[in-house]
């Protein structure tokens, strides 16, 4: 049974296959997709979103490369393992680092929006490096 529907955000500026990869990962992270679940077939995604089948194939290949899913010939693509977002202790440490960064920015005179812009820009850059 197909568990999730993939969706696109045309205005996001993120490459379509990455959007698909992220959505599957998000679903894995949130527990919406569990090992053994089937992803929609390429044809289903294509019929749903009117996008290039090669794009869907590329996204699924990427997920497969990361060991998250596996294709079974003639059957479809199935989830192999779920994704945890790290352990809670890490979260606490990262949060502390980020708070320290925010304080530093305030002292340097940056306002709320400046910080948001900076953070987004760094996040985007790191994402791009991941791809490249």
């Amino acid at each position: 049974m197909v568990v999730i529907n993939l969706r696109l955000d045309p205005g996001s500026g993120v490459a379509t296959y990455l959007q698909l990869v992220h959505q599957v990962k998000q679903a894995l992270r949130l527990g919406v997709l569990m090992p053994g679940d089937q992803l929609p077939t390429i044809k289903e995604v294509v019929a749903d979103l009117a996008i290039n089948p090669n794009t869907v194939a590329k996204a699924y290949r990427e997920l497969e490369r990361e060991g998250l899913v596996a294709g079974r010939p003639g059957l479809g693509t199935f989830v192999q393992r779920s994704l945890g977002g790290g352990v809670t202790a890490d979260h606490t440490a990262h949060r502390r680092d980020l708070a320290r960064w925010v304080r530093g920015c305030r002292e340097a005179g940056l306002d709320h929006e400046d910080m948001q812009a900076l953070f987004t820009s760094v996040l985007t850059d790191s994402l791009r490096e991941d791809i490249a």
Binding site: A47, A50, N52, N54, R61, E64, P73, I131
Partner: protein, 308 residues
């Protein structure tokens, strides 16, 4: 190897043009056009009106003969041979059909004229689209006519489907439906598709190869993801712009007194050599527009195919 998401029929060359040129009554519609398109791609052929898109497509399907040069489809010269014709389907600009025929008769037309005709596929597609077989083609809506035309082209089971402005004159819903049908057909048949458009936004999620045709010449030919990842919009102090332009091919260059914004072909990897530059990615439309405004800039994949 993996299951259903194996790479499409890659490795071969679907379409190859060498020094292709076409002249109409003294005017060159296409000049020295050379390009190579791998099999299994969905190719967007974009360019302004009058750039030679229709001419190129009509040459590729053998409707007209080249003044110079040649086109090969899957290694075979294009021409009036039944075997060559059977491998290529063409959807012309206004999606011509015989208005007096019923939809069923259009299918019969396809069956009678094509040995590889897939009648089951055609009927299934039309059933899914709720298009009545007994209705006359002329009495269908524009979107339905486009779907029938696409069905006739797809049920021929071509290896290469060529479409000239398939989305022109369609409302947004019909455009989406046509694209969805097309993409489903591609997923089912793994055919190569070449479609032209002068509206780039239609092609964002559907095409994976871009050919930019400008003033009768090929300006860009390459995989879209690769093109997008190798071009960046760089913004930085105007004093550094000349230095950057000397190191990197710049496609568009807009400068104010202090600030410069360059759309540059930076190549893969980190484009920034100087921290004073800021780089961001570009969209397909942005990229195409930048190239169209600079007809002398070109990106062609292979050194053998560069323009003279």
């Amino acid at each position: 190897m993996t299951g259903e998401f194996t790479a499409p029929l890659q490795g071969g060359t679907a379409l190859e043009a060498t020094g292709l040129a076409k002249r109409y009554r003294g005017t060159w519609a296409l000049r020295d056009c050379s390009l190579s398109i791998p099999a299994g791609r969905v190719v967007a052929l974009v360019g302004p009106n009058g750039a030679g898109k229709s001419t190129f497509l009509r040459l590729a399907v053998g409707l007209i003969e080249a003044t110079q040069g040649s086109v090969r489809v899957f290694g075979e010269p294009v021409g009036q041979r039944a075997a060559a014709l059977a491998r290529v389907a063409f959807l012309a600009q206004d999606k011509p059909l015989y208005d007096g025929f019923t939809v069923a008769e259009m299918l019969r037309f396809g069956r009678r004229l094509n040995p590889g005709w897939d009648d089951a596929l055609a009927r299934q597609r039309l059933a899914e689209l709720d298009i009545p077989l007994r209705r006359k083609v002329g009495r269908l809506s524009g979107g339905q006519q486009a779907q029938v035309a696409l069905t006739v082209a797809v049920a021929k089971r071509p290896d290469l489907l060529v479409m000239d402005e398939p989305l022109a004159n369609l409302d947004p819903v019909a455009r989406h439906d046509i694209m969805r049908s097309l993409m489903t057909a591609v997923a089912e048949t793994r055919m190569t598709v070449v479609l032209s458009s002068h509206v780039v936004s239609d092609l964002n999620d559907t095409c994976d190869w871009l050919v930019v045709l400008n003033r009768g010449q090929v300006q860009v030919s390459g995989e879209i993801d690769e093109l997008l990842s190798t071009h960046h919009l760089l913004s930085g102090p105007v004093g550094l712009a000349d230095g950057m332009a000397a190191r990197t091919p710049v496609i568009s260059d807009s400068r104010t007194e202090r600030h410069a914004a360059l759309l540059a072909r930076t190549g893969t990897g980190a484009p920034l050599l100087d921290p004073r530059w800021e780089a961001r990615g570009v969209g397909l439309e942005e990229l195409v527009l930048a190239y169209l405004r600079r007809p002398d800039a070109a990106v062609l994949p292979r050194p053998t195919l560069t323009r003279s």
